[in-house]
C-alpha cells in the first residue's frame, strides 16, 4: 500500500487521484503506525514551512518521517514536502526535518533573466528539469519534458551529492534531490500531465 502523509497541508486529493488513475491503491493518513506499515510513502504539501512544521510536530509525524527515512522504503517528497526535508527554511525562519543537509531559500528580488528581463515570483508555470544524473524515477521521461511549478522558495542542498536535477528561473536551483530511498521534487508531478504521471508511476514501482 502507498501512504500519502496527511498533515492538513494542501490538496492531497489530487495526488491520490493521480495514483489511483495509474492503477495503484493509496491511503491518505496521519496515523504514524499506518505510515510505518506502508510499502512506500508520498510526502506532499503546499503552504508555508512554519505552519507545516508546527502541524507535523503537533500530529507527532516528525518522528514517523525520520523512521520512514531510516527504514529505506521509497519516499517521495513533493513541493513543500521536498523543502522541509532539508535542515532549515528562510520561510518563517523554520527549523525543518533535516533528512538531507541544506537549506531552503527565497528567490532573490529583483530576479532577472539572462536577457535582463524581470522575472516573477512565485515561479509559477511550466519549466524544464536538467538531470545531473540518471534516476529510476525519471525513467522514460523525455529530457524536454516540462513540469508544473508553483513556489517562492527553493531547495538549496549542501554539497552536490544529493542534487539530481536543476531548473532555471533567473538562477539555477535544485528542483530534484535525493539520497538512497528518498527522492524529492519541487514541482507537482500530479499536475504535470503525462510526464508527471510517468514519474509517479515509476515511483510506485521503484525497488530501492
Amino acid at each position: 500500500m502507498i501512504a500519502i502523509i496527511d498533515y492538513k497541508a494542501g490538496n492531497l486529493g489530487s495526488v491520490a487521484r493521480a495514483i489511483n488513475h495509474l492503477g495503484f491503491e493509496c491511503r491518505i493518513t496521519h496515523n504514524a503506525k499506518e505510515l510505518l506499515g506502508a510499502d512506500r510513502v508520498i510526502f506532499p504539501g503546499v503552504g508555508s514551512a512554519g505552519q507545516a512544521m508546527q502541524d507535523l510536530k503537533r500530529m507527532d509525524l516528525d518522528q514517523a518521517i525520520y523512521d520512514l527515512y531510516e527504514s529505506g522504503k521509497p519516499f517521495l517528497g513533493i513541493c513543500l514536502g521536498t523543502q522541509i526535508i532539508l535542515e532549515e527554511s528562510e520561510e518563517n525562519q523554520t527549523a525543518c526535518l533535516g533528512l538531507l543537509p541544506g537549506t531552503v531559500k527565497r528567490f532573490p528580488m529583483p530576479l532577472l533573466s539572462d536577457g535582463g528581463k524581470y522575472l516573477k515570483v512565485p515561479h509559477m508555470g511550466w519549466n524544464q528539469v536538467k538531470l545531473k544524473r540518471l534516476h529510476p524515477v525519471f525513467k522514460d521521461v523525455a529530457p524536454e519534458s516540462e513540469f508544473y511549478f508553483v513556489h517562492s522558495y527553493f531547495p538549496a542542498p549542501k554539497g552536490v551529492e544529493t542534487i539530481i536535477g536543476t531548473t532555471e528561473h533567473g538562477i539555477t536551483f535544485t528542483s530534484v534531490l535525493g539520497k538512497r530511498s528518498l527522492i524529492a521534487v519541487q514541482f507537482h508531478p500530479e499536475k504535470s500531465g503525462p510526464p508527471g504521471l510517468t514519474i509517479l508511476k515509476n515511483f510506485c514501482l521503484w525497488e530501492v
Binding site: 512565485p122 515561479h123 519549466n127
Partner: protein, 259 residues
C-alpha cells in the same frame, strides 16, 4: 526558463458548456469534462472554468463537474463565477480544482483574498478583473476602471491600484479581462496588459480579444502577459491548441511542446 501558458476557458451553465467544440464529431458537445479532457490531450497548459449558472441552488452541479474534471485531467485548472465565501472556495478546491478565482466578491469584500490565501495558500487565489478604458481622473489615474457583476456595474476603482492591492492581500495570480477587447476578436488590450503585468510581481493571464495567433504572439511578447486565455478561436475550431503552440514556438515564444 518558464514557458508561456495557453489556457482555454470554458463557460459552464447548469453543468453544460455554453460553447461546444464544433470540429470534433466524437466529442459530446457541451460536456465540460469531455472538453477538458480534449484540451488536456491537445496540450493546454491549464484550463479555466467560469460557472455562469444564474441560480445559486444549481451550484452543486458545478461541484460535480469539478470532481469529474479532476478525475480526467492532470494539469492545473481553476474555477470562477459565483464564489462568495471561504466555504465556497473550500468546496471547489476539495473537489479537485487547483485554483479559485474571485472577481465581484473580492471588490465588495477584499478580505476574501487574504482569508483565502491564509487558508489555502496564495497559489490557489486568482483575482479576476473586468476592466474598461475610461478618461483619466484623479480617482482613476491609470485610465482603466474595474467593473463588477459580470461587467454590468462600474465601481470607480482604478484597475492598477486594485491589482497592486490584491497582490498585497495575497492574490497569487491575476486574470485580466479587457471588456473593450472581449468578444471583438481584434486582439488583446496591449496597453492595459503590460501596465498591469509590469507593476505586479505575480503572473498575469491576458483575457479578451483573441482572434488569431498573431494576437496571442503580441500579448505574450509586447503585452508582457505570462499566459493567454482563449475561448472562441479554439471552441469553434479556427485553430487547435497544438497549432497555436507550434506556431508561437516557431516564432520564438517559449512554449511547453512535449506532453
Amino acid at each position: 526558463m518558464l514557458s508561456k501558458r495557453i489556457i482555454p476557458c470554458l463557460d459552464v451553465r447548469d453543468g453544460k458548456t455554453t460553447k461546444g467544440i464544433k470540429f470534433k464529431e466524437n466529442i459530446d458537445i457541451g460536456d465540460p469534462v469531455q472538453m477538458a479532457r480534449f484540451y488536456y490531450e491537445e496540450g493546454a497548459d491549464e484550463i479555466v472554468f467560469y460557472d455562469i449558472t444564474a441560480s445559486s441552488d444549481q451550484r452543486d452541479i458545478m461541484i460535480d463537474v469539478v470532481r469529474g474534471v479532476a478525475e480526467e485531467i492532470f494539469i492545473p485548472f481553476s474555477v470562477g463565477g459565483g464564489i462568495r465565501t471561504i466555504e465556497d472556495m473550500h468546496r471547489i478546491l476539495l473537489a479537485g480544482a487547483e485554483k479559485v478565482s474571485v472577481n465581484t466578491a473580492a471588490v465588495l469584500n477584499p478580505t476574501i483574498i487574504s482569508n483565502g490565501a491564509n487558508a489555502f495558500g496564495s497559489q490557489c487565489i486568482v483575482l479576476g478583473m473586468d476592466v474598461k478604458k475610461v478618461k483619466t481622473t484623479n480617482k482613476i489615474p491609470s485610465g482603466y476602471e474595474i467593473w463588477i457583476h459580470g461587467g454590468r456595474t462600474s465601481t470607480g476603482i482604478d484597475a492598477l491600484a486594485w491589482a497592486k492591492e490584491a497582490e498585497k492581500l495575497g492574490a497569487g495570480e491575476i486574470c485580466l479581462n479587457s471588456m473593450d477587447a472581449d468578444g471583438t476578436q481584434q486582439g488583446y488590450e496591449l496597453e492595459l496588459t503590460p501596465l498591469i503585468s509590469e507593476n505586479v510581481s505575480i503572473p498575469v493571464i491576458a483575457s479578451g480579444g483573441a482572434g488569431n495567433i498573431n494576437h496571442m504572439y503580441d500579448v505574450l511578447t509586447k503585452g508582457k502577459a505570462d499566459a493567454a486565455l482563449i475561448a472562441s478561436i479554439v471552441h469553434y475550431g479556427t485553430y487547435t491548441i497544438k497549432q497555436i503552440k507550434e506556431e508561437l514556438h516557431a516564432r520564438g515564444v517559449k512554449m511547453r511542446m512535449a506532453w
